[in-house]
Assembly symmetry: C2
Homo-oligomer: 266 residues x 2
Amino acid sequence: MNIGVFDSGFGGLTVLRALLEKLPGQDYVYLGDTARLPYGAKSQATVARYAVSSAGFLVDQGAEYLVIACNTASALALDEIRAAVPVPVLGVIETGANAAQASTKSGDVLVIATAATVESHAYAAACKQRGMRAYEKACPLLVPLVEEGWIEHPVTEEVLRIYLDELLAESARAGLRPDTLVLGCTHYPLLRAQIERKLPAGIRVIDSADATATQVAGALGVPAPTDDPQSERSFYATDSVEKFRKLGTRFLGQPIEYVQLIDLGG
Amino acid sequence: MNIGVFDSGFGGLTVLRALLEKLPGQDYVYLGDTARLPYGAKSQATVARYAVSSAGFLVDQGAEYLVIACNTASALALDEIRAAVPVPVLGVIETGANAAQASTKSGDVLVIATAATVESHAYAAACKQRGMRAYEKACPLLVPLVEEGWIEHPVTEEVLRIYLDELLAESARAGLRPDTLVLGCTHYPLLRAQIERKLPAGIRVIDSADATATQVAGALGVPAPTDDPQSERSFYATDSVEKFRKLGTRFLGQPIEYVQLIDLGG
């Protein structure tokens, strides 16, 4: 099976990394729409236009199953992508919401994400559909801090403290008793340890990369993982392939040998 | 005279603000290519493609003089823009370097900017042409901090302290005796007071917005400013006009009544 993984940038490589662990024998084609990132601050119409052209490119490359590893595109454009391509499409919002449902006992869930994902209220809607209440908060400084490489850094600790304190206070005022926090952006798994340290005991962190890989494996009905030396992995980017290789290696957790530059006409 | 002002986003409104103060009687057309921002982390080819289409749009709207109020586009694409449009084009890198030349006695200049502007070494080249030495440093967290609205904020103070301490230490190690610091990104004027407080006495801050307005006034040979009630101001954006109005007002320092959404095909 050829699995296409799409993100606006490098963050989706945390999803590919989880997929490679759970489903090492499949073929993968990854597209980072780096010329037009970040999607997180853009409007629905713009994000949908970018995401549909990107999904079409992956299907043209042979993808038989699409994972939209971009929270913003999953939040704003999943219906448009499904209408535009002839293959099954899974988005990280629904996999995150499914994992939250499996985790929560109180039914109250916290979500941190980019501004556009939060403004779409896609997590709140997906949680409500599953009988949960969600409190969502935009954390726009986390992506640039991760990209600056300030992972174990006092400024990042302070920014996380501010965001998470606000989140806990605001959700308490709204009457929620949360026991689960969803990392609603694929950059955030790199800050998972710091986030877990700052949360009260009894709040469990859901990493949508892990959750997505588990659900793809379930959907494909794939048996025990076997590492197939014949499996192919292709990487495409719409901007600087050098930067993609350098930054991407940090997200994928292994070297990226070759990245092909493509032009989606943006 | 109809003056076109171009930026990837809202930052160029600090340049328009300075122009409105110095040349209130002119007509202005402003384009923020907000669907494709930020340019600061993108490659030369991509930035040039975006900037040329944006400049062409402004000329189509009647601009007879173009101000490229985007440091990244001025650094990476000024030649391409000049080749593509039939009107005079002024970029903020050259105006910043001219102002630094007028300010410096030691001939040694510091520049803070986005990653792409620094990697292009456009400020270093412009300073060298004018007989100065420049030490450039990328400060990628400052734009998101300004856009988060954390202007007077302890995290921003700490980030500035780290960046400026590194800048002073690195430039001293390189043997420079700087007396001038150029704000090489149009977002940075909003942090000017905090930056000035953290610099040693004897380092003067150059705001490229002010410097650009002064040089446009000089180039146009415009006499004493008069406020012409007939002068027209049009605003265009490639993404959410609501966000443009809201955030843009902070940069322009006055309300923006109407913003028109356009599609540059990106």
